[in-house]
């Protein structure tokens, strides 16, 4: 399949005449998250980062479902819709498919995207609609006051699981890769620089970009990502993936990741095997197998968590192809003629 131009996620979105400010992208609405919520950091990052894209503010749209994260559109001074629990990817698909001139962002939580809206998420990903899907994963239901979520660890004690949860959780990155996503990344709410770089890569990607943002809910699941954040543990926990670079982590990069002879990945001491033996991260690999293995390298609970862009490949987008079919039909047969359409098929005249 040939990939039609354009190849940048924003190429059909009109550019701003002058660079906007963070203030201009900030709405006048009072932000109502709990003090200390990780959502504040993500909002601040987005409000600063969006102007940098150089797009007209009126051509940016943020669509959300329901949940704490889903209040996001109210705080961005762009067009926005706070819709229905789980349905934001579907609504955004309709908008992006009919309006190529918009940069469409979808914001939701782990309940929104992985639970009630799981179906819409996987189909938006496989279709490769030009949407940026940001999933704030706090591994808990916040707005409904603290039930376990589809990303909560087994055994979690919550209001609805007083004996410990028994559902096996999703790994969101693995799920997205399995759903044929063309862009999959993970980042952390508190790491502004990393978060911004991942968001930029997502914005530039033409197609569906899935970004899992690990987000602290300090009311119902405080400290869920402390291993990744605390100075004493973060170096050994966070595996920063960079395209074209060997996969290394740990204090001073002492540890690395190597393709195991048995298949799968091994964590090794770099000093023992040498850097040349390490896996070099290829985000553009046509097949998602290695990205999938990386996504399962560890998890937050055992303290090894890969972050960064796991996969970024080109594939024709759904919305571009819809437009292409329409353009081709008009180019081949001319624009539709209503009177001729009504009179198509067998007709007869009564005089």
């Amino acid at each position: 399949m040939t990939i039609p131009e354009p190849r940048n996620g924003m190429s059909l979105v009109p550019a701003a005449d002058a660079k906007a400010t963070k203030k201009e992208f900030t709405s006048d609405q009072e932000v109502r998250w709990c003090p200390g919520c990780g959502d504040y950091a993500i909002l601040a990052a987005m409000q600063s980062f969006l102007p940098e894209l150089g797009l007209r503010r009126e051509n940016v749209v943020c669509i959300s479902g329901i949940g704490c994260a889903a209040r996001f559109p109210y705080y961005l001074n762009t067009y926005g819709m706070h819709s229905i629990h789980g349905r934001a990817p579907a609504i955004a698909t309709g908008l992006a498919t009919s309006r190529p001139d918009l940069s469409v962002w979808v914001v939701g939580g782990d309940g929104d995207f992985m639970s009630i809206g799981g179906n819409h998420l996987i189909h938006a990903l496989r279709r490769n609609v030009n949407l940026k899907l940001l999933m704030f994963n706090n591994r808990i239901y916040g707005l409904t006051k603290g039930q376990y979520s589809p990303t909560s660890e087994v055994g979690k004690l919550t209001k609805s699981t007083p004996y410990g949860s028994i559902d096996f959780p999703f790994n969101p990155v693995s799920l997205a890769l399995g759903a044929e996503a063309t862009f999959v990344a993970r980042t952390i709410d508190s790491d502004r620089k990393h978060l911004t770089s991942v968001l930029r890569a997502a914005a530039e990607h033409r197609g569906a970009a899935f970004v899992e943002i690990l987000q602290n809910c300090d009311i119902f699941n405080d400290g869920a990502f402390d291993l990744l954040k605390k100075p004493e543990t973060r170096d050994t926990a966070v595996v920063r993936l960079e395209h074209g670079q060997p996969v290394r982590f740990g204090v001073d990069g002492q540890k690395g990741v190597r393709l195991s002879p048995q298949g799968g990945l091994d964590v090794v001491d770099v000093a023992a095997v040498g850097e040349d033996a390490l896996l070099v991260h290829d985000a553009h690999a046509p097949e998602p197998a290695t990205a999938f293995m990386l996504s399962r390298l560890g998890n937050v609970d055992d303290g090894v968590t890969p972050v960064g862009v796991l996969r970024s490949v080109e594939r024709p987008t759904y919305d571009d192809q819809v437009r292409r079919q329409i353009d081709d039909a008009v180019a081949t047969s001319g624009p539709g003629d209503l009177a001729a359409l009504l009179a198509s098929g067998d007709t007869w005249t009564i005089s």
């Binding site: 009109p14 009126e58 109210y74 349905r87 001139d101 918009l102 008009v330």
Partner: protein
Amino acid sequence: MGVRGVSKEVRQKDRVIIRFAGDSGDGMQLTGDRFTSETAELGNDLSTLPDFPAEIRAPAGTLPGVSAFQLHFADHDVMTPGDRPDVLVAMNPAALKANIGDLPAGADVIVNTDEFTPRALAKVGYAANPLEDDSLSAYQVHAIPLTSLTVKALETFEISRKDAERAKNMFALGLLSWLYHRPVESTLAFLQRKFAAAPELARANVTASNAGWNFGETTEAFTVRYEVKPAVMPPGLYRNITGNIALAYGLIASSQRSGLPLFLGSYPITPASDILHELSKHKRFGVRTFQAEDEIAGVGAALGAAFGGAIGVTTTSGPGVDLKSETIGLAVTLELPLVVCDIQRAGPSTGMPTKAEQSDLLLAMFGRHGEAPVPIVAPLSPSDCFDAAIEAVRIALKYRTPVFLLSDAYLANGSEPWLLPDVASLPDLRVEFATEPNHTKADGTAEFWPYLRDPETLARPWAVPGTAGLEHRVGGIEKADGSGNISYDPSNHDTMVRLRQAKIDGIVRDIPPLAVDDPTGDAEVLVLGWGSTYGPIGAAVRLVRESGAKVAQAHLRHLNPLPANTGDVLRAYRRVLIPEMNLGQLALLIRARYLVDAISYTQVRGMPFKSDELVDALRDVIDT
């Protein structure tokens, strides 16, 4: 005159009802469609009723596997597909058994004797061959070995025996075309097109059709031919059209007349899928069709497209409406245009997917949590689906509201001749998007208030993304009157609930009054209907009047709001009868709204009313 010159008497008839019936694999729908085209071309008025099983290939030779197509044509105005067939074409014992009960005494029955084997007879519970005992003595039975005659006619063709046997429907069509003097040229041209890739099959099917015609001319099984003269119809260009195609065309016309792109979000479901199929062909009109992952995504995407300035449409049937309810509620509070086409079928749950019912009226009225009023428009005949679709889009665009279009399986698949409208005379549906701020802040700066309403229509401004200066957020949370900001203020909610209701109620000023057909002006009984019962009610009213009794008829196009004069109309009659294909849903609304003691007359057999039963129901009411 046939080759052997058997002379045939020609009899004039004013109307004929034919039912083709066979296995679902026998091609009965195609045969019916072709006979319909020939009949339309001849200039008869007509109405059709396809009736097929939900299963694609139900077990062969069984009663549930019977697929039928009924056609009523006449030299005058036809209102229904007809109650009782004058002619039954039965391709096997199952088709005979399933349909014989509907025939009046003296009807013609053409049976394919090749299929009347002991095994096939036993399969449907015939202890003895009905062709050999006197159980069919009330009918004119024409026992014809259709399959073997077809195979024989095609013996020189290089096609498989199976292909030869399958052409038996064209043999039957040729025979019926001969019997009723139908012009077959369009069918022959159709066969050439259909089998363009297999010329031998094309020739074989043409030959089978000709063989059927010639058989009629030469056999002694038929001594009489019939003629039905063309009907007197208004002059103009006509085509035959089904409800689903007319509905699809109405949506395309709405896009053309509004200048807005059409976006369909839909999930396949019987009997609505043909609208998706049809619209997906018309990319030249800029139509975007999105086959969604589920019903919810279908309506969600349509709403998303509407937010972006498109005509957002979703097509479905009852089970899909259940799933879409939450999104329709969101559209109510977002106050964005959205058209929800519900092609009603027999429920509850899966029910009978290919059979018609009018049982989603109250679902459309009330099937959402909270106070969530939605206008409802209903077509009354297959071709009327075109106008009803345009009306639904008109209301949605003008009042920024979701609108229900309630068609049903009978309208969807049934067909009738359609006098093509003059495109330039279709309603002008242009709307204006908001382009400027509409409110001044205390500090004198201008801003945009998404919920500042048009004082006349109470519609809010439609400001689409890409419009500088009008950036705004909308959502499901209650909004402050005017500014649209989130508001949990109790009295604001009270205001907003009432405003949303008042907006829908106010549409009453923008729809025509309920018209009453009461020729003498002194009828005491009114029959009130909505949707697809228009034909059967009209036919029954005609019969009652012909017998000298008086009855008035009114039919609702708009179910919400109801026309302003509805109460006055109802109160002007001593009795009001409301026939419906549900258990009295419109009657419930009418009684609640107008305190009128309307009489509900209902059936839910999945098929349209028979005019005869409505005549009886009307007489009962007139006589008491």
